[in-house]
Symmetry: C2
Subunit: 438 residues, 2 copies
């Protein structure tokens, strides 16, 4: 059978990995796909590097548009990243009737609706397994493996850099700054780590997961995003004492009032499987109404793990391109005319539990004042930890875990607590999820 011709845009980490995997496993991949998948063209500004990678039958160019416009190319793989030129190339490829495979989560989270509409119009596939959680086939699980289910919620460790930092902080007692430096030294964090540590990368991925789970458009601008850069090591330690771990989770949940979309540090019970996902690994926990809880675990980044997802998409597109357009797996899991505009719940309306750390003067009546304020706001306390004051200190740490309440209510209560003369400084508030309920 005629081979499938692939044009690759960008030979950075993932592009290089894709090249390696396609070459090394060529025979096995062909045995699966039923026809050869051939890297026909490579575009990269670094022509020298591209020529070094390319086989003798691979055309090398510095101009990505040349690949996108080449009549022999069946599938364009976009691994340039970013939301500017990558978008132009993808839209042009779609217009030219070419299928697209991309790992570009930022682009899909922000311009996905436009891209998928174009793909639908031109009858091509845009595959994006590599955009979320690297090599873990989570897009496939959600779009195809769990089609029987009404997805209730998803909670994912979907940023390896921040999970590495949190693991380091817990295992070594390091501060955030120290753990970040360690992550940078090991190549797990970039020189400018903002996207990873501030939860933006996780928010991109969560946007995609929510869209395909609930049949809603991409709505990156509505994701509540809070990173890990302000986490203190004592909170990790106190959480541990109470039987919890702190993870940066992307959470999306269907509620009667709307869909929750939020990325933030979260206390979760240490005995949960997902709490034991350490280092740069990723894991996505999916609760479906029929299947119950399922979890998907693996490497969320890296050359070959991400290439594993890119190549799986190439095989998928190769297998599916003869199916009539109406019968292919829909881009967003639901048929394009079956997306809904379920509202996204504002963060102030989200209902969850909380970890609170207060610094209080060790005086009679302090606890009474705090618990009164919480009770007046209808917030009940699930657990409490009061530390002995250190030698010569007048202040003590009080840690409280609340039962579920609404975010705006806890915020109001915190403002009142902070005004108490017996409380010093700000109240630390971290959300807490048991991950065991609907």
């Amino acid at each position: 059978m005629k081979p499938v011709n692939v044009g690759l845009l960008g030979i950075g980490t993932v592009g290089g990995g894709t090249f390696t995997v396609l070459r090394r496993n060529q025979e096995e991949i062909t045995r699966r796909a039923g026809r050869a998948i051939v890297l026909k063209m490579i575009a990269d500004k670094d022509l020298k590097k591209a020529r070094k990678l390319a086989g003798k039958n691979t055309i090398v160019t510095a101009d990505a548009m040349e690949v996108v416009n080449h009549p022999d190319i069946d599938i364009v793989v976009e691994l340039i990243g970013g939301t500017t030129v990558a978008k132009q190339f993808i839209l042009k490829a779609i217009k030219n009737g070419k299928h697209v495979v991309t790992a570009n989560k930022a682009l899909l989270a922000i311009h996905g609706n436009e891209i998928f509409a174009a793909a639908h119009k031109h009858g091509v596939m845009v595959a994006f397994e590599a955009a979320v959680a690297g090599g873990i086939p989570i897009i496939k699980a959600l779009r195809e493996g769990l089609t029987a289910n009404r997805v209730e919620w998803i909670a994912g460790i979907i940023n390896g850099t921040s999970n590495y930092i949190l693991s380091e902080m817990r295992n070594t007692g390091a501060s955030f700054a120290e753990a970040l430096r360690q992550a940078q030294a090991l190549g797990y964090a970039e020189a400018d780590p903002t996207f990873d540590i501030e939860g933006i990368d996780a928010a991109h991925k969560l946007t995609i997961l929510a869209a395909i789970s609930f049949g809603i458009p991409m709505q990156f601008d509505k994701v509540y995003t809070e990173g890990i850069s302000k986490l203190a090591r004592e909170d990790i330690r106190y959480a541990e004492e109470l039987g919890y771990r702190i993870k940066l989770l992307g959470i999306t949940k269907r509620t009667p009032k709307g869909i929750e979309l939020r990325v933030h540090p979260t206390l979760i019970p240490a005995r949960r499987l997902i709490a034991n996902v350490e280092g740069v690994m990723n894991a996505v926990l999916v609760k479906g109404d029929a299947v119950g809880a399922t979890m998907y675990y693996g490497a969320g980044a890296g050359a070959e793990p991400t290439a594993s997802a890119v190549v799986a998409d190439l095989v998928d597109v190769t297998r599916m391109h003869t199916a009539d357009r109406k019968h292919r797996v829909p881009h967003l899991a639901f048929q394009p005319d079956a997306l809904t505009n379920t509202p996204i719940l504002p963060m102030s309306e989200v209902q969850t539990s909380y970890y609170l750390r207060l610094r209080a003067f060790d005086k009679p009546g302090v606890l009474a004042d705090i618990t009164r304020i919480l009770a007046d706001s209808g917030i009940s306390i699930d657990a409490m930890l009061q530390k002995e004051p250190s030698e010569g200190e007048e202040q003590v740490d009080i840690i409280m875990l609340t039962h579920e309440t609404v975010e705006k209510h806890i915020n109001a209560a915190i403002r009142k607590i902070e005004k108490l003369s017996t409380i010093s400084g700000k109240v630390v508030r971290i959300r807490l999820e048991e991950l065991n309920r609907n």
Copy 2:
């Protein structure tokens, strides 16, 4: 679009669950599949029960062959189980040009090659996600999600009953018999639990996993199978003291000498994620050369979790049936003409590590004799635990963990050790896997 008409054979636990899930999530499933999936016919000998379940537009019959031969039926769902009549119905459905969805692992493990050959000949799909690990989309992950990879090995907790029993033994100190009774009382084990506790059910599933991972035919008769019924509670405790847990694992591994296919109790490091999979839950750990280790976790049995997989297959078949035959996902992941006859490695040639428990008289020279025998067989010791003799006892338990060796060598060494006059009774031997290497 015209609905897809499904005929359901058997309304036991999974059949009932399929009915429930299809009805409850009808709207959502249609939004995904692009057309309605309609339960047009039900066959069950219990006509009363079938009529109670059926909607007014569903034809009920006691004769499964009537469903299989009905011209309106597009997909036959076989949930009868067993390897006799189920096989006849499936082969007839295939001959009639109908697609088949089945949860029948025993049938596929034993007669899969014949069934898939028939399906290939008649150009129909036989989908079987529900046959392995219930609602976890592991078949899809292996056949489609990880197509870029050369699978190196798989280790799976793929029998919930035995995992429940092992969890109970560890958590409560119960004996095997007590934990089994508890499992039976809770409905996790059947009155005749042989298939579950002796590893046969796991061996069925492992046969299927190995076939689609390595592109080999189903070879159930070549699986080495050892169950958990002879496990003593002290071995679970000693393993724990050494930092290990005992799980019934299905293991298949590609080695230069052949493919390993084995089900047996296995010590694994307690810190591994899969060691923390408790109760009736299932998990499959897959090591691919590109993606590294990935793990898939969820409910391995039960009405709705298994129905989740059955319905996902229905959606898949609905989506794929317009693709030309050569481009559909091949049944065994590899194209039918691309299967290989890689040999299966006999158990005596398998290389792994071992936990040994010996009951020895507390006399000088005992250890020297044992370690000499092991050293002569080229077996080196990784860790040792010698217990103090109980009051009034003359014998002590000695526990040894070995480095990797070949099974026939450890067996020979054990025979020699058992002949020592200082050793009382049989040596307990349990295999040990670190699950961190190639």
